[in-house]
Symmetry: T
Subunit: 76 residues, 12 copies
């Protein structure tokens, strides 16, 4: 019974848009974690140089289910 | 004199983007409420399944004017 | 037994003062809701034009009791 | 497609416990609203008289789905 | 000298009560982490279907000591 | 006219449950203060040792009325 | 050297206005505490009965200096 | 097109009342800034000496429009 | 050594999208300030008229470096 | 069994540093209260005159145990 | 009568310590602003490279008095 | 391209000072994590026994870059 989940925080940065940053962050997390269920957008920031926006950056709180069969509570 | 307004909270979900979710939520609210003036984006969340984003979800605090002639303070 | 209450949010605007705005908001809510018990002042704003304050505006969280005999949980 | 939901705030009071107050609040809301999906416990308070706890009171933010076929965005 | 600790966030869900959800979450964390010292209840939510509460869910911030001899700062 | 009240903060710990901790905290406060009217649950924490919950701890903001005849504004 | 101050929280209620409630709360505190320096308005609430405002209530965080010669850190 | 506005923070103090402090703060800001549109009351404090309120002080977040023709983004 | 930076708050409004509002706000700030390094999205609001979104508005906290050679700490 | 504790708020000011202010505040509190267990640094402020820092000021939330044998719940 | 003050936000960075960063930030502000009265420490951050702390950074909200004779409400 | 970072929370305790606690916490994290970039000081607490400060404790939110070549999103 998958009743326990973990929440982990990441930041992700894109040259395109906030939504691209979210997509890339979610994709990166999926490479190493199973059972990712959702992400809350905690912060949105733009980085600027020479008067132009150089990147769109988000902080995400990602939730993923811990399955009972594996000991990955120790993984984040 | 329309000096009193109501604030109501909704969540809206789109398969496209946060802005599409906002547009759909505003449209849905306009079907039943008159005098909608604005909405504050309180939260942004993405839902994820099998490693892909399945929906973009926003929580909105919607403000709409109560006109004096009608008793719709009881409507939300 | 009146043990369940509703909380609804309004904004109210007066040309006189914050307290007049609160009085007018409470009066407007009483026209359509029974059992209003109290209001919390969540925010206070002044609107300004040509260097003068044109209105005093408050956001109120209004609490009113739901009586058991009526189905007005659906009213707000 | 049920992609828009409403969030409404109630307070509920029980002589037994916080969990009984939550159960009673959820039950009361279900009498007049369809599609209730969940509730977030925003606050917990105990009322006291003559040195004894007389009631356990919770504030809940209740979410319920608006179905497309009905105009109940105006209901709360 | 055990002077550095980690804080990790989990959610846990029970069909019984919030306290059962806390107990199950603590038990699950103890399967993979040593040195768990405490947990702060960050949020409490009930999930509802067909008018009944189906689960009691808590979000916990769990603190556990990092012992000097092991490199488990990389475990969460 | 009892129109002024004091608010004081306590923490209380029980081996049983959060509600037992609240009951014990309220009882302890009543030993030395008259006119206690209510308490807001500000925080809930569990302490853990050897993988088991050893105590349930709450932080309470307790309100009590100051009666006009006594100078106990100086007591807390 | 008066370098340590205490902060205590009170609520005060007036039938007239928020400012009258503040004045009465400050006056009541001055009866039992010396060295009161200021108060921050933490919350403003109106109580309502039969559609009319019955009282204006404020929560104040009051700061008062502890003088070195007296042991009134134990007074609040 | 005046689509960009600035937000600046001031504190203002009056011997009379909070509303007089707001009026004086708004008037002072209007002496040097054009296009002031509104102000949010962020904090309210009273200063006290010898048991009496000596001043009513507010912190305001003032919004004013930046017009395209002038370089006053550099002014605050 | 550019070790001191300023933070200023603006709001920016676009008829297109939040990201266009951010781009326009950043561009407007760059006309009068040198050394802009980044911006945090503090709030997102949509304005609505006749049932349609008329503008997408953001509040930004903009950070820009103060260089040692110039006295522009007085500019904002 | 020392299971109930009190939390009280103080401010403390030093001409040297924040840490000296904390040390002095803790020392002052220990003169009149037994059982002090810890303090949370809630705020840090510097006071400035003629371009120089004149004092370092902290606000502390101090926790101290109430022992069962004494009636000092009334002391703060 | 100097009853109106301005609040401005800066960040300051030092290779030594947080307190050195505060001192440098205050000194830098005093070069261009008169009447600086105090600063609130809003945030504290350390920057790290190759496993070592490279700088201690603070965000300060600085308050300075606006004197009546000058038009420097436009300066920040 | 290292565009995704992780944020993890630790507490660290020193007998000397807050800054020593920060240094020790950063050093401990660097033993097991590569790419640590910064840390935000979330909380500062002192522990007290027999009237003396026994330790200075900080809570830090530590950010470290995830490099593309390794699967250490699972490490924390």
């Amino acid at each position: 019974m998958a009743s326990v989940a973990r929440v982990t925080t990441i930041t992700s940065r894109s040259e395109q848009s906030f939504e691209d940053a979210i997509r890339q962050g979610v994709q990166r997390v999926n490479e190493t974690l199973r059972g990712v269920e959702g992400a809350w957008v905690k912060d949105q920031v733009v980085n600027i140089a020479d008067g132009a926006i150089t990147s769109w950056q988000v902080t995400l709180e990602v939730t993923f289910v811990l399955d009972g069969a594996h000991g990955d509570a120790s993984s984040d």
